[in-house]
C-alpha cells in the first residue's frame, strides 16, 4: 500500500506538471498571438484608410482572377449566390461554377436562370479529375463572365481541380458557393499579389464571418445581426477569435497554414505545380496551402502568403448539433490527414518557421487538444472514483481555465469593437458577451466531442464529407 501511495503521488505530480505546463503553454501562446494580431490589425487598418482600390477597378494591369465555386446540392441558394458572384466590384474576372454531380435541381436552376448552352472549351488537363459531362456558358451577354461545368461527383477537391484546369486567368479564387461576399472582396484579395516585389505571393486569405440571421438583399449583406440561437451565436464569437486574434498573427509571422476553403486566392501556376487539390483528404484547403509552401521551400523560391483581416466573406454556420458534429469531425479528419501527409516537415529546420512552429502548434493545440482534454476527463473520473480528487483545487483549476476562456473571448470582442465594429446594436453586443460566459460549458464540450468523433472516423477509414444541409439566409424583399 505504501508502494502504491508513493507511486500514485509520483504519478499525480507528473500529471499535474504536464497538465499545468500544457495549460500555461496554450494560454500564453493564445495571448502572444492575440498581441501580434492586434498590432498587425491596427497597422493594416491605418494603412488601408489611405488605399484607393479604384485603381484596381480601372486598370488593365489589375490581376486577372478566376473564381471557382464548387456546388453540391446547393439548389436552395444557388441562383442568388451566383448572381452575387457575378456582381462583384472587379473587372478582370470570370466565375466558374462547378456542379459536382448534384442530386438536386441545381443544374436546372442554373440553366434556366442564366440561359446556359453547351459550349466547347479548350481544357488542358494538368490535374486528373472525374469526367466532365459538359461545360456551359450563357447566351445572355450580361452573364458572359459565367462558366458552368457539370461533372460527375468527385468531392470538393475534385471540383476545385476541374476549376483549376479550366481557369483562364493566372490567379484563382476558391470559394464556397453558399458564401456571401463583400462587394469589394476581390479588390482587397487581389491587392497583395501586386505588393511584393522580392517574394512571390502564392496565396491570399480573407476573413470569414457568420451570416446566420443577417439580412441579405440581392445577394449582398445589408444588415449584420447576431443569431438568437446559441450554437451559431457562439460560432460568431469563435470565428472572431480565430480570424481576428489567431490567423492575423500567423499572417504577420508568415506562418499561416490555413486559408479557409470558403474564400481564398491562389497563384494558379504554383497551385498546379504543387499538384492541385488533394482528393485524399477532406481538409483540402489546408493541405493545398502547406503543399504550395512546401513546393516553394523545397525549390528555394522566395514566397509569402498574405492575409486580409477585413470581413470579406459571410457564411452560414450549422444551427443544429447534428450538422455541427459532421462539420467539426470533418475538420478534425482533415487536420489529421494533412498533418500526416506532411509529417516530414514536423520540427524539420529545413522548413523554417513552418516546420519549427506552425506545424508543431497545429499538432499540439489543434490535433492533440481534444485528446488531451478527453484523457484529462477520464483521469479526473478515475480520481473521483478512488477518492483522490481534491475538490477545492479541482474547482480552482476549473475556474482558472473558465476565467481565461471568458477573458480571451472578451479580448476578441474588444478587438472587434475597436476595429470593424460590425455589431453596433447594444443587444447584439450583450448577446455575444453572454455567449462568452456560456461557451466553455456548452459549446466547448460539443466541439471536443465532435473532434473525438473525427478521430474515430479517421480510425474507421471514413472518407466522406457528409451532407451539409443549408437553411438559406434571411432575405429582404
Amino acid at each position: 500500500m505504501t508502494f502504491f501511495d508513493t507511486d500514485m503521488t509520483w504519478f499525480l505530480n507528473i500529471y499535474m506538471v504536464v497538465i499545468l505546463a500544457y495549460a500555461i503553454l496554450i494560454m500564453s501562446s493564445y495571448l502572444i498571438l492575440a498581441y501580434l494580431s492586434t498590432k498587425e490589425l491596427r497597422s493594416y487598418l491605418k494603412k488601408n484608410s489611405f488605399v484607393d482600390y479604384e485603381v484596381l477597378l480601372t486598370s488593365e494591369f489589375a490581376p486577372k482572377l478566376s473564381l471557382i465555386a464548387p456546388a453540391y446540392n446547393e439548389g436552395f441558394t444557388i441562383e442568388e449566390n451566383v448572381k452575387s458572384l457575378l456582381s462583384l466590384n472587379y473587372n478582370n474576372y470570370q466565375v466558374i461554377v462547378v456542379n459536382d454531380g448534384s442530386k438536386d435541381n441545381s443544374m436546372e436552376i442554373l440553366t434556366k436562370t442564366y440561359d446556359l448552352v453547351l459550349t466547347e472549351l479548350d481544357i488542358s488537363t494538368k490535374v486528373e479529375t472525374k469526367k466532365i459531362k459538359g461545360i456551359y456558358t450563357s447566351r445572355n451577354a450580361a452573364f458572359k463572365k459565367l462558366i458552368v461545368v457539370d461533372k460527375e461527383n468527385g468531392g470538393k477537391a475534385d471540383a476545385l481541380n476541374v476549376g483549376l484546369n479550366i481557369a483562364q486567368n493566372p490567379y484563382v479564387v476558391c470559394i464556397d458557393v453558399d458564401c456571401i461576399l463583400d462587394k469589394d472582396s476581390l479588390l482587397k484579395l487581389a491587392k497583395p499579389f501586386l505588393e511584393s516585389h522580392d517574394k512571390r505571393i502564392i496565396a491570399t486569405g480573407g476573413v470569414v464571418r457568420i451570416a446566420n440571421q443577417c439580412v441579405i438583399k440581392n445577394g449582398r449583406l445589408v444588415e449584420v445581426n447576431v443569431p438568437d440561437r446559441l450554437l451559431p451565436r457562439i460560432q460568431v464569437l469563435e470565428y472572431l477569435r480565430a480570424f481576428l486574434l489567431g490567423r492575423m498573427a500567423w499572417g504577420r509571422l508568415d506562418g499561416l497554414l490555413l486559408i479557409s476553403g470558403a474564400f481564398g486566392a491562389f497563384d494558379k501556376e504554383i497551385a498546379l505545380l504543387a499538384g492541385g487539390y488533394s482528393t485524399k483528404t477532406v481538409g483540402e484547403d489546408m493541405e493545398l496551402v502547406i503543399r504550395m509552401r512546401r513546393y516553394m521551400i523545397e525549390n528555394k523560391l522566395p514566397y509569402s502568403v498574405s492575409y486580409i483581416p477585413d470581413p470579406l466573406c459571410w457564411t452560414e454556420a450549422p444551427e443544429d448539433f447534428k450538422i455541427f458534429k459532421k462539420q467539426r469531425s470533418r475538420w478534425m479528419r482533415g487536420t489529421i490527414e494533412t498533418l500526416s501527409f506532411h509529417k516530414k516537415m514536423f520540427l524539420n529546420p529545413k522548413y523554417k518557421l513552418l516546420g519549427m512552429l506552425s506545424l508543431p502548434y497545429w499538432t499540439l493545440f489543434e490535433f492533440l487538444a481534444p485528446a488531451i482534454e478527453f484523457i484529462g476527463l477520464v483521469i479526473t473520473i478515475v480520481f473521483i472514483i478512488f477518492g483522490l480528487l481534491n475538490w477545492y483545487f479541482f474547482f480552482l483549476l476549473v475556474f482558472f481555465v473558465y476565467s481565461f476562456a471568458v477573458f480571451f473571448s472578451v479580448i476578441a470582442l474588444y478587438s472587434e469593437e475597436r476595429t470593424y465594429h460590425k455589431y453596433p446594436k447594444r443587444t447584439d453586443f450583450f448577446k455575444l458577451l453572454l455567449a462568452a460566459f456560456i461557451e466553455p460549458f456548452y459549446f466547448h464540450p460539443l466541439g471536443v466531442y465532435a473532434a473525438l468523433v473525427g478521430y474515430k472516423e479517421k480510425i474507421m477509414g471514413t472518407h466522406s464529407w457528409g451532407e451539409m444541409t443549408r437553411k438559406g439566409f434571411n432575405k429582404k424583399e
Binding site: K47, D52, F61, A62, L194, H197, D198, F393, L396, V406
Partner: protein, 273 residues
C-alpha cells in the same frame, strides 16, 4: 533544479498561483469590458456630434459656394465662431470640404479653396505635415493636394522619399496631382524596386487627375532600375502616349533584359496598331 522540484512538489504555490491568475483574468476582463463600453459611448457621442456639425457645415458651405458669402461674415456666425476652436469640428470641417471639393470644378472649387485658406484649415494641414505619425502626415498631404496648394510641393516631395510605403505612395499621388510628371522624374534614380501596386497607383493618379503635361515620362525608360522602366512603359501604354513611341523603339533596341524587351514590344504593338 532540485530546489525548484522540491518547491513544486510541496504544492504551496498552486493555490496562490491559481487564485492570482483568476483575479488577473477577471480584472482584465472587467477592464476590457469597461473599455468596450467607453469606446461604444465615444463612438455614439462622436456620431451625434458629427451629425450636428454636418448640419452646420452644410449650411455654411451652401452660403460659401452658392451665395458668395465672404469668410468675414461666416466668422461672425455664432455657431461657427464657437465650434471652429474645437479640434473635432475642424476635423469634420476639413473632411467635409475635402469631399465637397472632389465633386466640384471651376468657380465653385475656387471658392472652396479660398475658404480652406481663409478658415486656417490650410495651416492645420501644414501642421499635420510636421507630425511624427505617418498617418497624420498622409492626411495633411491628401488635404493639401486636394486643394492644389502648390507651395506644399517641395515638402510633399520630401515625404515621397520616405521609407514608409503608405506615406511614400500618398505623397507621390499628391505630387502628381500638383506637378504632373515633374514629381516622378526623380524615380529614375530610385535605388529600390517599385512594386506593381505602387506602379498602378502612379498610373491611376495620372488618369484620375487627367494630367495633360506628360513631358519627361520618357526619362523613366532610361533608368537603370527595371521596375522604373516597367512603370514608364505602363504609363505610356495606359495613357496612350503615341508621341513617346520613338523612345519605346529605342528601348526595344537596347533593353536591359528580355522582360523589358517583351513589355516594350507589347506597348509598341498596342500603340502602333
Amino acid at each position: 533544479m532540485i530546489k525548484l522540484w522540491e518547491f513544486y512538489k510541496s504544492g504551496d504555490w498552486v493555490e496562490p498561483f491559481l487564485i492570482d491568475s483568476i483575479i488577473l483574468f477577471i480584472a482584465a476582463s472587467c477592464i476590457l469590458y469597461l473599455l468596450i463600453i467607453a469606446s461604444r459611448s465615444k463612438k455614439i457621442k462622436r456620431e451625434r456630434l458629427r451629425i450636428e456639425y454636418d448640419k452646420l457645415i452644410e449650411k455654411l458651405m451652401f452660403s460659401v459656394v452658392f451665395q458668395d458669402t465672404p469668410f468675414s461674415e461666416i466668422k461672425e456666425d455664432k455657431g461657427y465662431s464657437v465650434l471652429s476652436k474645437k479640434a473635432f469640428f475642424r476635423e469634420v470641417l476639413a473632411e467635409s470640404i475635402t469631399n465637397l471639393h472632389k465633386n466640384y470644378e471651376g468657380v465653385y472649387a475656387r471658392k472652396l479653396e479660398q475658404f480652406y485658406k481663409e478658415s486656417g484649415l490650410i495651416n492645420d494641414s501644414f501642421k499635420k505635415l510636421k507630425s511624427l505619425k505617418w498617418e497624420v502626415k498622409c492626411k495633411g498631404i491628401t488635404e493639401l493636394a486636394e486643394f492644389n496648394v502648390a507651395e506644399a510641393f517641395e515638402k510633399i516631395i520630401t515625404a515621397s522619399k520616405d521609407r514608409n510605403k503608405t506615406l511614400k505612395l500618398t505623397a507621390i499621388n499628391a505630387c502628381i496631382k500638383l506637378e504632373g510628371t515633374r514629381s516622378i522624374v526623380h524615380l529614375t534614380e530610385h535605388p529600390y524596386p517599385i512594386d506593381n501596386w505602387t506602379q498602378l497607383n502612379i498610373i491611376g493618379a495620372f488618369k484620375k487627375h487627367d494630367i495633360g503635361d506628360i513631358k519627361g515620362v520618357e526619362f523613366l525608360l532610361e533608368s537603370e532600375n527595371t521596375t522604373v522602366v516597367a512603370l514608364g512603359l505602363k504609363l505610356i501604354k495606359e495613357l496612350k502616349l503615341t508621341q513617346k513611341v520613338p523612345y519605346v523603339v529605342q528601348l526595344v533596341n537596347k533593353a536591359p533584359n528580355t522582360f523589358i524587351k517583351c513589355e516594350a514590344q507589347s506597348v509598341l504593338q498596342t500603340l502602333t496598331v
